[in-house]
């Protein structure tokens, strides 16, 4: 029987997990009253659905429709003037959702807040570029890598992959080695799809090694002239090592050294 691999998550899995293994969780602390983070949570009020501290940073869960409002409050009343990072995590296989995060930085207090929101597959999110210009590139990258549309983005276009690329590479359904489109991308573009048969899939595998190809490969100890036919086997050439000569050129004598200076 063929081995079953789940289609909704083709990333590498642990080959063995103890059946009684339960992964522990990083402790989540409550926001202490009177601290800076408590003031942030108070300022957000009902907009914050859930808030806790995880490894020294405040994590706030919000509704995806209110992201701009939350960012505006964080920027204007809480002093979070920099959006360090913005991206998504793919939870389509488990929940059919993406988890988006915004990592914000307050420079005067040296505090960091992470804002989380979850959107369903096919939903889009409002852009925060009017507040943080750094989101311009970050949101484009998120669109490129996950296919999440960002509304009212000034220039929503693929940023890292080519414009005519198909698929979004960081989705869990996208294989690490790339899909069929990826392996034929250059061939389709330069020669046309009909040349796929002429070139053949074996020539699109970058890790393929042809045992008898003497134009691109050379076996150490069995060197033959370029392009020679070795289907009959090849003769062994003993490896000749050159002697390393270390010369101290800083002195006039040019004396040989036993080791590197």
């Amino acid at each position: 029987m063929r081995k079953y691999t789940p289609k909704d998550n083709v990333q590498k899995k642990a080959y063995y997990t103890d059946r009684f293994w339960v992964a522990p969780r990083v402790p989540r602390e409550k926001v202490e009253a009177g601290s800076h983070f408590a003031a942030v949570v108070d300022a957000l009020g009902k907009l914050a659905k859930e808030s806790y501290i995880e490894i020294g940073q405040l994590v706030v869960h919000i509704d995806p429709t209110q992201n701009v409002e939350v960012m505006r409050i964080l920027k204007e009343s809480c002093g979070y003037t920099q959006c360090s990072e913005q991206s998504a995590v793919d939870y389509l296989a488990q929940d059919g959702e993406f988890e988006l995060f915004y990592q914000l930085l307050n420079i005067t207090e040296a505090k960091r807040v992470r804002v989380h929101c979850r959107i369903k597959e096919g939903e889009s999110i409002e852009s925060i570029t009017p507040l943080f210009k750094s989101a311009n590139f970050a949101e484009r990258e998120m669109f490129d890598m996950f296919g999440i549309y960002v509304n009212n983005h000034p220039f929503l276009k693929r940023i890292i992959m080519p414009d005519d690329w198909e698929g979004h590479p960081l989705l869990k359904t996208y294989p690490l080695q790339g899909d069929e489109f990826a392996s034929w991308y250059e061939v389709d573009k330069i020669f046309g799809k009909e040349y796929r048969d002429v070139i053949g899939p074996e020539n699109r595998d970058p890790s393929r090694i042809d045992r008898y190809d003497t134009k691109r490969f050379s076996r150490v100890g069995y060197e033959v002239p370029f392009g020679a036919d070795i289907s009959e086997g090849e003769k062994e050439n003993p490896i000749e090592y050159s002697e390393t000569i270390l010369v101290d050129y800083t002195k006039d004598s040019g004396q040989q050294l036993d080791e590197r200076r």
Binding site: Q11, K12, K13, A14, Y15, Y16, W21, A23, P24, R25, V26, E54, I55, Q57, V59, T81, Q82, C83, S84, E85, S87, V89, D90, F101, Q103, I107, A110, R112, R114, F132, K133, S134, N136, F137, A138, E141, M145, R158, I159, I160, M161, P162, D163, P169, L170, K172, Y174, L176, K189, I190, F191, G192
Partner: protein, 409 residues
């Protein structure tokens, strides 16, 4: 009108026949001053840039995707390829993020060695910046002198870990090796050498150089608000008068105990940033000099003791059965951090390098996001290049100090 065919596709962002008097040119991706693989589409009105569009992705290797398919220890050498000018800072940022997730701390000697390597790497990276920036602007000789000192620093790196560019000299939980005999003395003499060269060569060649000042002063001006909004960090932010250095504000490793200053410039231009880089090298030398006596006072333990996550030292593996079993599991399956997420920022030579790791309790990270400073500095180019002259474009790209390994990832 364009005549698209299979070999010359339609360039939608290039308009060759225009009604106005502007010209669209492609800067890169093979331009020697494009710092790797930056393609910049510039719309010029005469010599003035009207519109700039940075096009990136020519060096994309899917490092974040690879992180999801590699165990935590396997991925560490891959981080070398992010900012390949300062590999240790990437290794360290990643290792620190995983350590925070695991809740472990490296032993004292490993911390001293890591801080030494980080600062040595900062000097390597800054020397590279001075060299290439000066070369871009047209000062050839600085390049030769700065690369000479960079070679000495890389020799030190080579003595420690065997590699010159892709170090992987930091491990999750500590460092793999102790310093070789006599390394700290070599480091001390390197510090004095660089200090001397900084004052007598680079500063003498550049600081008051009339041409250098004319090319750099009031070029690439970024206001503090813009710098914050565009996500600038490191010298780009401090060059705009914002006193923000993660080593000082959110101290990690030994930076809380060390005595050093954070240079800040309120000039907001390229010249101010150049001065910052020079001053930061002096401060790095100061840190290294404080670290050398600290090294001899530490215990010889190099890796943290966390048997669930980190293999025991070699002697224990070879003598104790349980240590060997755990080593076997850790090598074949990889460590399983607890469920949770962490974002750890560090101050790399270019700015804030942070790793966001989302763990689902598996030996493979569920999501890893590398917050690379250069990525956001590249985004800034589309705004600060507008209104400048074509001759200043190279200066501005140089001053942002972008490295495409971490822009495209």
């Amino acid at each position: 009108m364009q005549q698209p065919n299979k070999l010359t596709p339609f360039f939608e962002n290039l308009n060759f026949e225009r009604d106005d008097n502007t010209m669209v040119i492609n800067f890169g991706p093979q331009h020697p001053s494009a710092h790797g693989q930056l393609r910049l589409v510039l719309e010029l009105d005469g010599e003035q840039v009207v519109k700039a569009y940075p096009d990136i992705g020519y060096l994309h290797r899917g490092i974040e995707k690879m992180a999801e398919n590699m165990t935590y220890n396997e991925f560490l050498p891959t981080t070398d390829r992010l900012d390949y000018i300062a590999s240790t800072s990437n290794n360290y940022a990643y290792a620190l993020a995983v350590e925070k997730l695991l809740g472990i701390e490296a032993p004292r000697r490993a911390q001293v060695i890591r801080t030494m390597l980080l600062e040595l790497n900062r000097i390597i990276s800054h020397l590279f910046f001075i060299a290439t920036h000066a070369l871009d602007v047209g000062a050839m000789s600085v390049f030769l002198y700065a690369f000479r000192e960079r070679e000495y620093a890389m020799d030190l790196m080579e003595d420690y870990c065997g590699a010159r560019l892709t170090h992987s000299a930091v491990r999750i939980g500590g460092v793999p090796l102790d310093l070789p005999a006599g390394w700290t003395e070599k480091l001390a003499s390197f510090c004095s050498k660089v200090e001397y060269e900084l004052e007598h060569t680079y500063n003498a060649l550049l600081q008051e150089n009339r041409i250098w000042k004319m090319r750099l002063e009031n070029v690439g001006v970024i206001s503090a608000e813009d710098a914050l909004s565009w996500g600038c960090t490191g010298p780009m932010l401090r060059g705009s008068g914002v006193n923000w250095d993660i080593r000082k504000e959110e101290p990690y490793e030994l930076y809380g105990e060390l005595d050093f200053d954070i240079p800040v410039s309120d000039r907001c231009d390229s010249y101010g940033r150049y001065r910052l880089y020079m001053e930061e090298m002096t401060q790095s030398i100061r840190i290294l000099r404080q670290l050398i006596p600290m090294y001899s006072k530490t215990e010889p333990q190099l890796m943290a003791h966390a048997p669930q996550y980190i293999s025991a030292p070699k002697e224990e593996i070879m003598t104790q059965n349980y240590a060997l079993m755990q080593h076997f599991v850790l090598v074949t399956q990889g460590m399983r951090p607890p469920k949770g997420e962490v974002y750890v920022p560090t101050e790399s030579p270019k700015g804030e390098l942070g790793f966001y790791i989302k763990s689902e309790g598996e030996p493979y990270a569920y999501r890893l996001k590398c917050r690379a400073p250069s990525f956001f500095h590249t985004g800034l180019l589309q705004e600060i290049l507008v209104g400048t002259y074509i001759a200043d474009v190279v200066t501005i790209i140089g001053t942002t100090n972008i490295v495409f390994g971490e822009v495209d990832r």
